[in-house]
Every structure is written in C-alpha cells, then in structure tokens.
C-alpha cells in the first residue's frame, strides 16, 4: 500500500489507516492524522526528510520514517 512518505510535492491523498505497530502511531492520530482525512505534501526538506504535510488546516513536519506509517489510498 502507498504511504505518505511516497507522495510528490502538492499531491493530495486521503488517509486510509495508520500502521499501529509504529511507536509514533498514536501520537500521529492524536494530532489529527485520522483515517478519512485529506493530506497534502506541502514541503519537504533537503533529502526529503522531514516532510511537511497539511492536515486539518495546519502544517505538520514529520520524519520520513513516521510519514511511512501513514497509509494512504
């Protein structure tokens, strides 16, 4: 399944689920990365890591590794 870490700049997708085996998964849910939400890759730092996503009207920077546990449709 495709994950948020594979998005291209400006690509909008809907979150399918969060890989619950990742240690950051609950924190990601708590800050709003819930299934059904639309996210967009807004910016990414040099080396594509960290990446900044728009979620629920704000920008959140995540490490590539953490974005990897956000599975998208």
């Amino acid at each position: 399944m495709k994950s948020a870490s594979q998005l291209k700049l400006g690509e909008k997708v809907v979150i399918k689920n969060i890989d619950s085996s990742h240690p950051s998964s609950r924190r990601l849910l708590e800050i709003g990365f819930t299934p059904g939400q639309e996210i967009e890759l807004i910016n990414s730092s040099v080396f594509n890591d960290p990446m900044a996503f728009s979620i629920r009207g704000t920008l959140i920077a995540l490490r590539r590794n953490e974005a990897g546990c956000i599975k998208v449709e």
Binding site: G32, T34, E38, N43, E66
Partner: protein, 679 residues
C-alpha cells in the same frame, strides 16, 4: 499534603496543546507575578502564579506543560498529566481554562473532549480568531458552549482582548460553585486507537456545526451580533474551507522551506543572529565590565586593601560582575529567538536541520538549545526541555558545553593577539571564525561518537521522533517578545546567579588564602605598584598556587607550568577569568595602552622557571586555544547539567571526556608543532 479546596484560594489550571496560545494567556493573566517550579522529583517545569491585581480575582493560576492529549506519551507527559488530575501539592484543580486554537478546531477539541470525559469543570478560551478570520470563517461560541456544556470565550492573549470577558465568566462559575469541588474522575482512556478515531469523528461533526462561513468580511467587527443572521448562510463547504492552510503562510514557505532558498535563508538568519549576539552586545558588555571594575576599585578604596576590602571588591563585586557581564548577550539572544519563534520561523529552522542532526543522534529540536550555547551554556541547557525524547535531550545537554560560548571570547582574543603579528591583526577575525567552525565540527564528531556508544554511555530507550507543528506566520508582537525576554533573563539570573556567585567566592578564597596579607618590600614603589605586587604575591602563595604546583607534572608535557595551571583552575569560575588571572600571576602592570597589550608583552617575556626557555610560544598558545575549545572549564555549567539531566552521570561524563579530549589534543598539537619545528 493536599490542602482541602476550601482552605486555599481556588486553583485554576491552564491546559492546552502546544502553540495554542496557552503561555501567552498565562503571561497576560499573571503579569510578571509568577514563579517557575519543577514537579517534585522531575525535570518537568510548570509556572505558578496569581492573577494580576487589576483582575481582582483571587485564585492560584497554574500553567501546565502543553499537551496534545490526556494519554501520556513520554515520561515527562506522564508527570504532567498526573499532576493535572491532582497536583502533588495543590490537589485537583477547581477549574480548567483550556486554550483552543480556533483555526485548528478539530485538532484542539480532542483535548477538550477528553477533559470533559474526565469530568473536569472547564472554560474554553478560543485563541487565534484572527487567523480564522483570515480564512474567512467565524465561530459560533454559543453553539460550541452548548455542545460541550461549558463557557466559551474568544480571547487574544497578546493584546488582552476578551480577557475581561473570560474573567467575568470565571467569577460567575466561582460564585455559583458549591464549595465541595466536584471530584474529577480519571476517565480510562484505553490505548485503543478506534476510540480516538471515534472521538475525532464526533469532533468533526461539532466543528461543522459551529463554523460559519463569512460571506461578507466587512461584517467582521459585529460578528457576535451578526451570528444569528449569518447562521442561515452557513455554507456546507465551511469544513473544507477551515482545512485550508493560511494562504500567506503557504506563500512564505514556498521560499523559506525551498530546497535551495530555504537553506540559504536559514544560514543567512543564523549568521545574522550570531553577528548580532556579538556585535550588538559588545558595547553593552564593555559598559557592564567597566562599571564593575569601577565599583571594584572604589570599594577597595572604601574598605581598605585588607582581606575584607578584597572580599568585597574581588570576591563579591567581581563575582556579580561575572554573572552580569553575559546578560547583554543573553538578552539579545532571547530577544532574537523570541522574535524568530513568534513569527513561526524557529519551527522551520528545526525542520531544516533535523536530518543532519539526527545523523549524530540529535534532533531538530536540539537546534535552538545548541544555538543558545554560543552565548552561554546555562540558558542553553535549560532550553533542552523542549526535546521530548529523553536520550536526545541528554545528548544535547552533553554536547552543549562544546559550543563556543561567549566566555571563551576574551581568552581567544588574548591568545590570538599573542600569536598574531601586530601588522596583521586583520587575520584575527579570520582565525576566530576558524576556531568557531572547528569547534562546531569537533562537537559534531564527538556527538556522533557518543551516539555510536550510546548504549554504554546514555542508557535511554526512547522512540526517536520528530513531529512538529509549523505554525502559521504571524507578525511578532514586540510587547510579548520583550516580556518573555525579561522573564527568561530573570529566570536565568535566578537559576545561575547564586551558583556562579558561590563558586566565584569559593575560587576567590582559593586564590587569596592563606597568605592574604603578604609581606612585600615596599621601598621605592608607587601605591599602584604595591597593590599589584600584593595581589600577585597573594596569588602565587595561595591554595590555588599549591594546587597548581601539584598539577605541574600534568602541565609540563603540554609545555606549560604551574602558573598557567593556576589560571586554568581560576578559570573554572568563568572562562574569561583566565585572562585576569594570567595578568595577576605574571605581575602585569598596566604600563601599556591596554591591559591586553600589557599581558601579551608580559607573556612574551615569561620563561619556564629557572631556565631561559620561553614559556609561551606559538605552539603552547595554539595548545591553549585547543584546550579551551574542548575543556569543560565551567563549574556553573556542571551544576546546571547535573540539575537538568537529573543526576551526576552526564556532568561526570562531560568532565572526564571533555577534559581528557582537551588534554590529549593539546598534547598532540603542542608536541606535534614542536616536532615540526614550529615553536
């Protein structure tokens, strides 16, 4: 320990997610009237205050650390959440004011609904309404209040707008409240993620109900009156609108987070910050410096030249001076950091630097503390509290003393003046920059090595993560920034001041006793010469000198003798004391234009005792520079490091590793240079 709720003023706790304007509101409500305390047995910090007298509200106000949810995620959050339910000393709160960023309703209402589930009595303080308006949206506070059955107030903690309304709501609650405070029961939030998703689904419905699409922005000022009429105009798209990112922020980020321009701006901002820390502070530092020299010499005249006068002049006044001399730099540092933070740029800087820092076991969030380390390690170590991962925080604390703090500057200036030919003084700036770059590279290498050995040295298993909200850009409010600068500076002075002063008094004793009134041959000497000779004699027969002679065998291999050793011991009070102590021990009299020139010429003439061999040569001076780059030469840093890391492990490792590194590298460079014939 719990006081019954009736026996004390009511306790109001401020709760809110990071970036929700919680601390800004706290500062506005409490004025300067608060103290920062640690939870018992933890390094988690909170502020305790009273309401400013103009609000005439008698209550204890507690600012808790920012939390995203009531399910703790780190050891620090466990402490924060536990104390929210029942504070170890103050008991459960009578009322919680929860700050909610109106422009991020769906994210911030999670905490509200969890607080509600736990049966807390709450008031919602809606912040950032201006950003919501920029998105052409308004919020129906009455509806929101009905849905959560609590009061909702729009506030702006930066200008104070709406705060009076908040206060009157709080007063109403208190007057109608029966004094038997309702026991908040800790709702059992299970780790089940479906539960969270459910809560979010409910919140999204609430959000859709309370957000109003502003059809006509010209009606903004009358929004509360217009609410009822506007409700019929609710646009079904309002949810989508509120999930749009602030357009201005996106535009600015297109440059500031750009792959190339982002890095260019980042380095430009950093360079500017650095240069201003040094150049803006320099005139202020010399004012403080000369003020304290004046005070010192005046008090010597006043109290006489005996031990008491010396204690006042060189112990107390110089000790206080050595704390205050860094205040200009610290103020400028906090001012710049505050401005950068208030605009929203600091979070971007942390994001840009996260990748390289994670390679050496640090975190993007280590960046601000490390930057502060170039002014002074003490506020820098205090700033590491924002790093959630404990292992990364300990490694950041560990590495901070290697940042070239401003106390090293006078030492480098003196040493560079010695090796530079006077006609090539322009080289000084270049060499100084090289020292800085060298120290950055060296600290990165050391952090990398420690990180490789991490399980042996820093035993903390924590999930390394970097999740950071990039707040919308805002024009900074200078009043708020200046207020925060003053608070941080006074907090630095309160924390570091007593430690530094005690240590400088201790070192004064070491360098003055037992021979406080040495007998010297005064014939044919002027008053000043007698004074200088007395000081020099006192130091060279002091306990510090005895210590210096004990460490002589250690100093010899690196080409130095006990007199340098004494100065190095004295420099433990503060690194720049090295300069004045050298001046004392080489019996420098200010017959040249500046003190620095006099010390340099005295150093040029100094020979290794009982020989003709020159003590200071290019190789020993370069060795000393190397020594100061690495050595953990600051007792106050050791004290703060112990306190903030919660034990002796980190400071002892710092002393051992940095001192060993300093000694070995000095040994290699001195003897290497001599072998190359570059003496």
């Amino acid at each position: 320990m719990n006081l019954p709720a009736t026996a004390r003023s009511p306790l109001i706790t401020l709760v809110g997610p990071p970036n929700s304007g919680k601390t800004t509101l706290f500062n506005y409500l409490s004025g300067n009237n608060f103290k920062t305390v640690n939870y018992p047995g933890a390094t988690v910090e909170y502020s305790l205050g009273k309401f400013q007298s103009k609000f005439s509200l008698k209550a204890i106000l507690l600012d808790s650390p920012g939390i995203v949810s009531l399910i703790p995620n780190s050891p620090d959050e466990v402490v924060a959440v536990k104390s929210l339910y029942s504070h170890p000393e103050l008991g459960p709160p009578d009322l919680i004011i929860v700050t909610v960023d109106a422009s991020q309703l769906s994210r911030h209402l999670l905490l509200v609904s969890q607080l509600k589930k736990s049966n807390f009595r709450i008031v919602i303080a809606l912040t950032m309404v201006d950003i919501l308006q920029r998105k052409k949206l308004a919020i129906d506070t009455i509806k929101l209040g009905e849905l959560f059955s609590c009061d909702v107030v729009k506030i702006d903690g930066r200008s104070g707008k709406g705060v009076d309304n908040l206060i009157s709501k709080v007063e109403n609650i208190f007057s109608s409240m029966n004094h038997k405070s309702t026991e908040s029961t800790r709702a059992n939030f299970c780790n089940d993620t479906n539960d969270l998703i459910d809560t979010f689904n409910k919140i999204e419905k609430i959000e859709a109900e309370v957000l109003i699409n502003l059809v006509d922005p010209s009606q903004l000022p009358n929004i509360s009156k217009a609410n009822k009429q506007l409700r019929i105009l609710i646009d079904p798209k309002s949810k989508i609108e509120c999930n749009k990112i602030d357009a201005r922020t996106l535009k600015i980020d297109r440059i500031l987070l750009h792959r190339i321009w982002g890095l260019v701006t980042f380095f430009a901002v950093m360079t500017l910050t650095f240069t201003s820390i040094f150049w803006l502070a320099e005139p202020l530092i010399s004012v403080v410096d000369s003020l304290f020299s004046l005070l010192s010499s005046e008090s010597l005249k006043l109290f006489g030249y005996g031990w008491f006068g010396d204690l006042v002049a060189n112990g107390i006044i110089s000790g206080t001076g050595s704390i205050l001399v860094f205040v200009p730099q610290i103020i400028i540092l906090f001012l710049i950091l505050g401005l950068l933070e208030d605009t929203g740029y600091l979070a971007r800087g942390a994001m840009l630097i996260d990748k390289p820092l994670s390679k050496i076991g640090l975190n993007g969030k280590s960046f601000v503390p490390m930057l502060s380390g170039f002014a002074c390690a003490i506020p820098a170590i205090l700033a590491t509290r924002t790093i959630p991962n404990r292992r990364e925080r300990l490694l950041t604390i560990f590495i901070i003393p290697l940042m070239s703090c401003s106390a090293r500057l006078p030492v480098y200036a003196l040493l560079l003046a010695f090796i530079l030919p006077s006609d090539k003084s322009w080289l000084g700036g270049f060499l100084l920059a090289s020292i800085y770059i060298f120290s950055i590279v060296a600290s990165a290498i050391i952090a990398g090595i420690i990180n490789k050995l991490r399980n042996k040295l820093i035993k903390e298993e924590d999930n390394s993560s970097f999740i950071l909200e990039l707040p919308a850009y805002r024009i900074p409010k200078f009043k708020v920034v200046i207020h925060n600068t003053i608070t941080s500076t006074t907090s630095y002075l309160r924390k570091a001041g007593p430690v530094i002063l005690t240590l400088s008094l201790f070192l004064w004793m070491l360098t003055s006793f037992p021979n406080i009134n040495p007998s010297i041959d005064k014939t044919g000497l002027t008053k000043d010469e007698i004074l200088n000779l007395t000081k020099a004699e006192r130091l060279s027969t002091s306990y510090a000198a005895d210590l210096g002679k004990i460490i002589q065998p250690i100093m010899t291999p690196i080409g130095m003798d006990w007199r340098v050793g004494v100065s190095l011991i004295a420099a433990f009070a503060a690194r720049e004391v090295f300069v004045s102590s050298l001046a004392l021990i080489f019996k420098v009299t200010s017959d040249e234009t500046t003190l620095q020139n006099s010390i340099v010429s005295a150093m040029r003439n100094a020979t290794v005792e009982d020989t003709e061999q020159k003590l200071f040569t290019a190789s020993t001076i370069i060795g000393l520079i190397i020594y100061f780059i690495f050595a953990m030469q600051c007792l106050s840093t050791i004290a703060v490091s112990r306190k903030e890391s919660g034990g002796w492990r980190i400071p002892i490792l710092q002393i051992l590793i940095f001192t060993a590194a300093a000694y070995v590298f000095t040994f290699i460079s001195v003897n290497g240079l001599r072998a190359l014939g570059w003496d």
